[in-house]
Symmetry: C2
Subunit: 123 residues, 2 copies
DNA sequence: TGGTTAAATCGGCAAATGACGATTAAAGGA
DNA sequence: TCCTTTAATCGTCATTTGCCGATTTAACCA
């Protein structure tokens, strides 16, 4: 289509060095508008995209494992709300819950956490 | 308050080793339910919590700098929608836009990206 | 100055999110 | 077996998000 004009403009755009492209052309091959990887990384980020959920993950990081009730006690939120947040984290694969009698015991999923770190580091 | 009862239960919770806390007590000092740091990290995650925005960040990563129109062309979305996503990323501080004639030139904010990576790595 | 192009903003709409109290389900203990 | 405790789920509501087309704003060019 009109790619040539766009590419030409990108190259020419070097006005004072403040808008300089790295290469000669835009690397089409390195960019896909839609990819599963974007979805996955965005999904993990979205799950962490709420301060309460960050707090929960950091809490689990510091205590290794924790019963749901303990988490609820430490947050200024209703039990049902905390449960929802836990579900979001679990659905994203970031935490795991195991039934322990009448309680549920949550812990981090280290693999998912590593995956997230790896994807972040690649930015 | 009733911390003693809660802490006591946490210690006792070691039923079969599958729900074992890492330390003797839950480390109160290491956890704050509400903190600016949680807000900040969650804010960055939230901004990256959409596949299109991940795609934009990765594109900018690969081309160093890019005019808004180029980004629009590569995404199957209306110009206004892409502009909204760019605004989200800009508000989070992850990208910067500089006016270049009639165009706007976007690039990554490397400092914010480093901040995000650092916070991620700490998980 | 007038016209053209690029990008931000507006208005509207459907869907998702986050919060809550109430209810249900599951498991242990009296 | 019944009762209590724990946590998930349900129903509701207000707010936010994501998308679009239309409009406005801004800057260059003729």
């Amino acid at each position: 289509m009109e790619e040539d004009s766009r590419m030409a403009r990108s190259v020419l755009d070097d006005a004072g060095g403040k808008c300089l492209p790295a290469g000669e052309i835009l690397p089409e091959v390195a960019f896909e508008a839609l990819s599963d990887d974007h979805e996955r990384f965005a999904g993990l980020c979205k799950a962490l995209g709420h301060p309460v959920r960050v707090a929960i993950v950091r809490l689990l990081l510091s205590v290794e494992t924790c019963v749901c009730g303990d988490i609820v006690e430490r947050l200024p939120l209703a039990q049902s709300t905390v449960s929802q947040h836990l579900k979001v984290l679990k659905d994203a694969g970031l935490i795991e819950g195991s039934i322990d009698g009448p309680r549920t015991c949550y812990c981090l999923n280290r693999e998912a956490l590593s995956e997230f770190k790896g994807l972040s580091e690649a930015l």
